[in-house]
């Protein structure tokens, strides 16, 4: 049994004051959950304010052989922050500084606890833009974004978090501090360790500084809502857009379940026949935006049953609010949902949609699909009542089937939410044994005792091996 008194004494000696070390059992419940509704109180919670304090905490954890669960805002959707054993939770939310804004090189260095939106506002004040826009940007931390390689609607054109990360400061399992990357656009000396830590879900090290590249913001944008009579036509339209070399910043789609859930919230009437919606945003220079919007209108004229253009920012906000409110809105369809965020190459969208429809019919459960159609990332929600054993079993079967279909189309289990502990059992479905063994070799090289976020990413038998 770890000696809590000794551990807290060491942390205090390292300068972490008493109110930033929490050991009361019930008090810790508010640091043991995330957006997956799992919840487990850890052994203790530490709220460090600097790299030095993070390193001290990790040294203490190493000395007492404690598992360490790093967390940001706890908005994760795959259980990445859940303490799977009696260990230390490191909450990085207090490390929120912008350390350097380099206006010449379009670079910014931040601490990991800064909230995505705060970073965007901080750089926007200087006329620069940080594009990644996960729907959780109003509360998720940059550290969490990097650790999950979060993406958002604008990934179609601008890519995901990882494409903006140019360097990191990371504290390793034993408390050693390392730096990766630099401000050079071209930089090939040694291994690209930055990439290794992007998307590592807190299993390889604790990220304490992040160097990000920025862009000048687009001068203009146009938001359009396209309604279709069926999902197939909508999916075909997406493929057609790219075939015409039309690359919007965003293509979000909503199926008929989603439409029903938010119809009332929309500021305008939709044709009753609308069973699929695409929310398309085109950005760039004003002239190109006008031209592309016109090309899009021509393209969809034969297939869309309605085209609605947001007249101003207020209307655009309403459209996006409706989109962001979707997740809770569909909760009305059934008491529970199994939500996955699979991704397929975008040309395979029509195929995966058709397959999911068939699966829904097989298991006799509604499956709600919406998401980032432009990049092939689809939020699949199997709606069910878990208290009904029949439904629970059919739900699980549907998820497994969807995963199999996805991988069969060259897709992936998770486009943005990560594997965590909710999808770890399915990892072998996507990667073969030698590939997983390589991942494991990397993990054990950096964290030989498997103390950093154990129980995540790797299938359960991996963790049995270690402990």
């Amino acid at each position: 049994m770890p000696d809590i008194t000794a551990i807290t004494a060491e942390l205090h000696a390292a300068g972490i004051d008493a109110d930033r070390v929490i050991t009361d059992r019930t008090a810790m419940t508010c640091y043991g959950y995330d957006a997956t509704r799992q919840s487990r109180p850890p052994l203790l919670v530490v709220l460090p304010q600097s790299t030095v304090e993070v390193a001290a905490a990790l040294k203490t954890a190493a000395a007492h052989r404690l598992p360490v669960f790093t967390r940001g805002a706890g908005s994760g959707m795959s259980g990445g922050t859940i303490p799977t054993g009696a260990g230390m939770v490191l909450s990085l939310t207090m490390m929120t500084r912008v350390l350097e804004l380099d206006l010449e090189n379009f670079m910014v260095t931040v601490e990991p606890g800064i909230i995505t939106k705060e970073l965007q506002e901080a750089v926007a004040a200087h006329g620069l833009w940080y594009p990644p826009d996960p729907a959780s940007l109003a509360f998720s931390t940059l550290g969490g974004n990097v650790a999950e390689n979060a993406g958002g609607p604008c990934a179609v054109k601008y890519g995901v978090t990882g494409e903006y990360v140019r360097g990191l400061e990371v504290v390793l399992a034993d408390g050693t501090v390392i730096t990766t990357g630099n401000k050079c656009v071209k930089s090939v000396s040694g291994y690209d360790l930055t990439r290794l830590f992007v998307g590592s879900e807190g299993t390889l090290g604790v990220i304490t500084k992040i160097l990000l590249r920025l862009l000048p913001p687009p001068a203009a944008r146009r938001t359009q809502l396209l309604a279709f009579a069926d999902m197939g036509t909508a999916a075909e339209t997406i493929t057609a857009m790219f075939r015409r070399r039309l690359v919007p910043a965003t293509i979000e789609f909503l199926d008929h379940h989603s439409i029903a859930a938010i119809r009332q919230e929309l500021p305008f009437a939709l044709p009753p026949a609308a069973r699929a919606l695409l929310l398309v945003e085109i950005d760039g220079e004003p002239e190109t935006v006008d031209r592309d919007a016109e090309r899009l209108r021509e393209l969809v004229a034969p297939t869309a049953i309605a085209v609605i253009t947001a007249a101003d920012e207020r209307e655009r906000d309403t459209l996006w609010q409706a989109r962001r409110a979707l997740s809770p809105a569909i909760a009305r369809i059934a008491p529970h949902k199994l939500n996955e965020d699979i991704a397929v190459p975008r040309a395979s969208i029509p195929a995966i949609i058709a397959r999911i429809d068939a699966i829904a019919a097989e298991v006799e459960l509604p499956i709600v699909c919406f998401g980032h159609a432009g990049d092939g990332n689809i939020h699949v929600n199997v709606m069910l009542d878990k208290t009904d054993p029949g439904q629970a079993e059919r739900g699980e079967r549907a998820v497994a089937e969807i995963f199999r279909a996805t991988v069969g189309l060259g897709g992936t289990l998770s486009g943005e939410h990560g594997i965590g502990n909710t999808k770890s059992a399915f990892l072998p479905l996507e990667w073969d044994a030698p590939t997983i063994a390589t991942m494991r070799a990397v993990k054990l090289a950096l964290d030989p005792e498997n103390r950093l976020n154990p129980g995540k990413i790797f299938p359960p038998d991996f963790h049995d091996h270690i402990s």
Partner: protein, 389 residues
């Protein structure tokens, strides 16, 4: 969660609604008789009841009701702190003479508090508990709203409206009450102002439900004698929000800014194109924006008063940190939130920051005074009254 003003500045999970909910849930499993840990008390204590989280909660969780319930629980167990107990006894009318005491205070406040040049506030001369050298309190007026009401000759021809002034306007900011009544009368209404007591929010927020219910009951009785069709108008965001849980006998409660915009045409005729020559911004009181959902009207009103010289804040939805007595009991955190608000106000370049809540005005005026700026904080209806002359 990032919308919680306390989270923004503490970055601690127990500050936000989700953390508080988890604590409440964990408490249910605590063995009976085991005292509430300090950590929990602290979390329950730390809530501005600003409704920011509720306004953003897709699931409609009412955390403020739970916080209030938890405070009631604590108050029942341990009793209120003595200062709050006395204060609510006064508000609740259990000890008579709040009005007289405050008037008496108005005569002698100069002994302990000194005036701040160019401002309507006072700074302390003596080290009072719960204050420091940066505390700025409003000067107690010699004439309270009741004195004005006694002297007034109410018009009795137009359609009736009921004005609910509330304590802060009655005792600390009578000019807001006076302005409200005058503006309404000029629009042709008969303004009824019965002797309402406190709306009950202060007591309710502290967990003193008895006092709050009692006050509400007294106000209900006063309302019973008034014309049914008359709307109940408030100029204090907190009172307006409190009235939402009242039974108004089918009448509606409405904030003065909303009511004025409903009568915009008549107001424009009255103004005849006159405007105030100033740039104005607006701090949305939480109890107005999130509590009552009023956002548009104060802006339209201010645009009307200044001839479209309203400038919005970068984050108008942020709480000012006052939170009723929170600013007194958690001074440091409250000041941090205040400083952020003042910086945003200054950045707009406006010379007046309007806000439809006396509590916010106290907080804003203290912040502006300490920042040494010439920007003033005013209730929109006072600006309108000034313009109407």
């Amino acid at each position: 969660m990032a919308v919680c003003p306390l989270y923004r500045h503490t970055r601690r999970e127990e500050m936000v609604a989700r953390g508080k909910l988890a604590l409440f849930a964990a408490d249910l499993e605590r063995p009976a008789g085991e005292p509430l840990p300090t950590f929990h008390r602290h979390a329950i204590d730390h809530c501005l009841l600003c409704h920011s989280c509720e306004a953003n909660c897709p699931k409609g969780v009412k955390i403020t009701d739970l916080v209030i319930a938890a405070r009631e629980e604590i108050a029942r167990e341990a009793g209120l702190p003595p200062g709050k107990r006395l204060f609510f006894a006064l508000l609740g009318g259990k000890i008579p003479g709040l009005a007289r005491m405050l008037k008496f205070g108005a005569l002698f406040q100069g002994l302990a508090w000194r005036r701040i040049p160019q401002s309507s506030g006072l700074r302390r001369r003596l080290p009072f508990p719960l204050t420091d050298d940066h505390t700025v309190i409003p000067r107690l007026p010699r004439r309270q709203l009741a004195d004005f009401l006694r002297a007034r000759k109410p018009a009795d021809s137009g359609p009736p409206v009921i004005f609910f002034p509330g304590c802060a306007i009655s005792y600390l900011f009578p000019e807001i009450g006076r302005a409200t009544i005058r503006v309404l009368e000029r629009l042709g209404f008969t303004v009824l102002v019965p002797k309402f007591v406190c709306c009950g929010t202060a007591a309710r927020a502290a967990g003193d439900r008895n006092t709050a219910d009692n006050l509400q009951h007294q106000n209900h009785e006063l309302l019973a004698a008034l014309p049914l069709g008359a709307p109940v108008i408030t100029a204090c965001a907190t009172c307006g929000h409190a009235l939402m849980r009242y039974d108004l006998g089918g009448r509606r409660a409405v904030d003065i800014s909303v009511f004025l915009m409903e009568h915009r045409a008549r107001l424009e005729t009255l103004l005849a194109g006159r405007t105030l020559d100033l740039d104005v911004t607006c701090h949305d009181p939480c109890h107005l924006r999130k509590g009552q959902g009023v956002i548009r009207e104060p802006r339209e009103l201010l645009d009307l008063i200044t001839g479209n010289r309203f400038r919005d804040l970068a984050h108008p939805e942020l709480c000012c940190g006052s939170g009723g007595t929170f600013g007194v009991t958690h001074r440091e955190l409250s000041r941090t939130i205040q400083a952020e608000k003042i910086a945003e106000i200054t950045a707009t370049g406006a010379t007046v920051a309007a806000s439809g809540c006396p509590g916010c005005l106290i907080q804003l005026r203290e912040g502006l005074t300490n920042a040494g700026t010439a920007i003033t904080a005013e209730h929109p209806v006072v600006l309108l009254d000034r313009l109407l002359g």
